[in-house]
């Protein structure tokens, strides 16, 4: 079992449908033919994460990266496909095993203020779950909370304070301590450093890397910031409109991007090295996931699109060891 991925999504999809309201249903009985609007937030995605690995999941808003993260964290049901925890389908586990798998997966959110209960002191926020799950006795919880606060770099005396008494970076540390309290193996970090100032962001990123070394954690690190992802990830997956279009080891991802979308995103990443540069943005907007383009979702914005891209969905193909890309161009020039 050691070489099984910690978690694997197999061809998962998630659709959100807006139900018809009364007026629309009445109109339909009269033959108006109004259809439900269905958003394909995630459209047939597979992603496996190995023990101890940090996978960066990148994409622009609306591409489905958070939805995928939530499905892996087990807090959002799947429309299609399966999620395997340590090689076993989550849907087939008995309730005790499923609970253990859920506890071993924790999520850290973007905005700690909306994920921390404002009426509870830090000691209860962090200490409630391990007591409820019987991991720590009520007698020992004070010491456990203290140790967790030490681990995330906060003073033990903060345990008696409320969330509003902290700065953004400190709140994020509390959110991390809360997630660590139930001894997870796998953390889903959804834009966990995006709301922080650069100097504070750097402190939290260092904390994530330190925790990984100390506790052997596995991460799915969701972010729109390529700089952050480049820094922290072993492997990067990039999503566009509900699909993973490319995945590769981080070094190779940034050194030799293959998919035209990846190439464009990396070229547009703001860096300190490029001064008063001329921008060459890819044109167009991200299409609506209600009505995605046919074939390759990226073709209307792609500078290299040809006829086949409009009609046929490109599948992920391995173009170099562990480097997968979903682009028809790779079949034109086999390398």
């Amino acid at each position: 079992m050691t070489d099984a991925p910690v978690i694997a999504a197999n061809n998962v999809s998630r659709r959100f449908a807006r139900k018809l309201d009364v007026a629309e249903r009445i109109a339909n009985t009269l033959g108006a033919g109004i259809k439900e609007r269905v958003v394909h937030a995630v459209d047939g995605v597979s992603l496996a994460i190995n023990p101890g690995e940090v996978v960066g999941l990148v994409g622009e808003s609306g591409c489905g990266k958070s939805t995928l993260g939530r499905m892996l964290a087990g807090i959002l049901p799947l429309s299609e496909g399966t999620v395997e925890w340590e090689g076993r389908d989550l849907a087939t586990l008995d309730s005790a095993q499923a609970k253990a798998a859920r506890l071993a997966t924790q999520m850290i959110f973007q905005d700690p203020m909306s994920s921390l209960n404002p009426r509870k002191i830090v000691a209860s926020i962090i200490g409630e779950a391990p007591v409820a799950h019987g991991l720590v006795s009520r007698r020992d919880i004070g010491e456990t909370v203290g140790a967790l606060l030490d681990r995330v770099g906060l003073d033990r005396s903060y345990a008696q304070r409320y969330p509003h008494q902290f700065s953004g970076g400190q709140r994020q540390r509390i959110g991390i301590a809360r997630a660590l309290a139930v001894r997870p193996k796998f953390l889903v970090c959804d834009e966990s450093v995006s709301a922080l100032d650069v100097s504070i962001q750097a402190q939290i990123l260092n904390l994530f890397m330190q925790l990984r070394d100390e506790l052997g954690l596995t991460y799915l690190f969701i972010s729109h910031d390529l700089g952050v992802v480049k820094h922290i990830s072993d492997r990067v997956a990039i999503m566009y409109l509900g699909r993973i279009v490319e995945t590769a080891p981080a070094e190779e991802f940034f050194a030799a991007p293959n998919h035209p979308y990846t190439v464009a995103l990396i070229a547009e990443m703001p860096t300190l090295g490029q001064r008063r540069r001329s921008f060459h943005p890819i044109s167009g907007e991200i299409p609506s996931p209600v009505n995605p383009p046919t074939g390759c979702h990226f073709h209307p914005r792609c500078p290299k699109a040809f006829a086949r891209c409009r009609s046929e969905r490109p599948m992920l193909r391995e173009i170099a060891p562990a480097h997968w890309s979903a682009c028809h161009l790779n079949e034109l020039q086999p390398s």
Partner: protein
């Protein structure tokens, strides 16, 4: 003559908890057609500097000292109607959230025609023609048809373009842009940066680009001013500041940017956090987080300069220690 000259600006907020010195002695010039990047973390006073220039500081905030010269005349303490004639026509502002600029219940056409006619006596048809032209300028496809739409019918990036178009309607001499691309996706941000850059070059417009993102400012600005705790701690031409930073705070900021380093290498964050504006340390406000601080830093650091590059620090860093 610079388009804008800010001289020792002090904007303080008189709250119940005490006086918060949001902007505490800020000076800079912006020449015609120049892009200034005003960089800082939250609470550094960069936005309040922008609001002070355009005269939108609300009580309990007040400009308590210094001067702002726009095209050589002071615009501090002008009567409301004089300031109103200037605002929108000569000086315009773009906000982070375009919904702050746009009225959700009025069509784009109504809002744009109103803006044109607020400052100029032109016919509705002429105002409309100007609106269409300006929407085209910021890259909105089919501007004729889009004019009738309401703000909610646009995507975030398109809304920001409309807000920029409204700011451009009167071809102002100065635009203050307060984090206008922070909420946008990378590809859309890049489109907007490219347009703003070429517009300011074509029209000779001066631009103050307020941002927390050094990467964005590096790609856009002619010169950079770094703010910390209500002051400019270092400023100068973009290449000078980013290639030869001397202030420990600027150096710390650059070392905190992940894209700047090799992968996996630990970042070198600045320890601690920004001081509360109610309770700043005496002397240099950065000294409690600074790796170079000594006893002398408890007194006020002088401003030093070499050509156009200036800094406020007792211990400017030699090139060897730089990121």
């Amino acid at each position: 003559m610079p388009t804008l000259s800010v001289r020792n600006l002090q904007t303080h907020f008189f709250g119940s908890a005490g006086i918060s010195k949001a902007v505490d002695g800020v000076s800079f010039d912006v020449e015609r057609g120049e892009i200034l990047g005003l960089v800082g973390e939250s609470g550094s006073g960069k936005s309040i500097t922008g609001f002070s220039i355009i005269g939108l500081v609300d009580p309990p905030g007040r400009i308590v000292g210094g001067d702002i010269l726009f095209q050589d005349s002071s615009i501090v303490g002008l009567p409301q109607n004089t300031m109103r004639a200037l605002r929108g026509r000569k000086i315009a502002m773009i906000f982070q959230d375009p919904m702050m600029t746009l009225n959700p219940v009025l069509s784009i056409e109504t809002q744009m025609v109103e803006t044109v006619r607020a400052h100029e006596k032109v016919s509705k048809a002429e105002a409309r023609r100007r609106a269409v032209e300006t929407l085209g300028l910021v890259g909105i496809p089919a501007p004729e048809e889009r004019l009738a739409a309401y703000p909610h019918q646009f995507s975030g990036g398109m809304r920001q373009r409309v807000a920029i178009a409204i700011a451009l309607l009167h071809r102002p001499d100065l635009i203050i842009a307060d984090e206008p691309t922070t909420a946008l996706d990378v590809t859309i941000q890049s489109q907007i940066l490219s347009q703003v850059q070429s517009l300011s070059r074509q029209m000779g417009m001066s631009l103050i680009w307020i941002s927390h993102d050094l990467g964005v400012v590096a790609g856009l600005a002619d010169k950079i001013a770094v703010m910390y705790a209500g002051r400019i701690v270092e400023s100068g031409p973009t290449d000078e500041v980013l290639d030869r930073p001397v202030h420990p705070y600027t150096i710390g900021l650059m070392r905190s940017v992940p894209a700047n380093l090799r992968r996996g290498e630990p970042l070198q964050p600045i320890p601690g956090m920004s001081p509360s504006p109610l309770n700043r340390p005496v002397g240099c406000p950065f000294r409690l987080r600074c790796f170079a601080a000594t006893e002398i830093c408890a007194s006020e650091p002088p401003e030093s300069r070499s050509d156009a590059h200036s800094w406020r620090c007792f211990h400017p860093q030699p090139p060897a220690s730089q990121p």
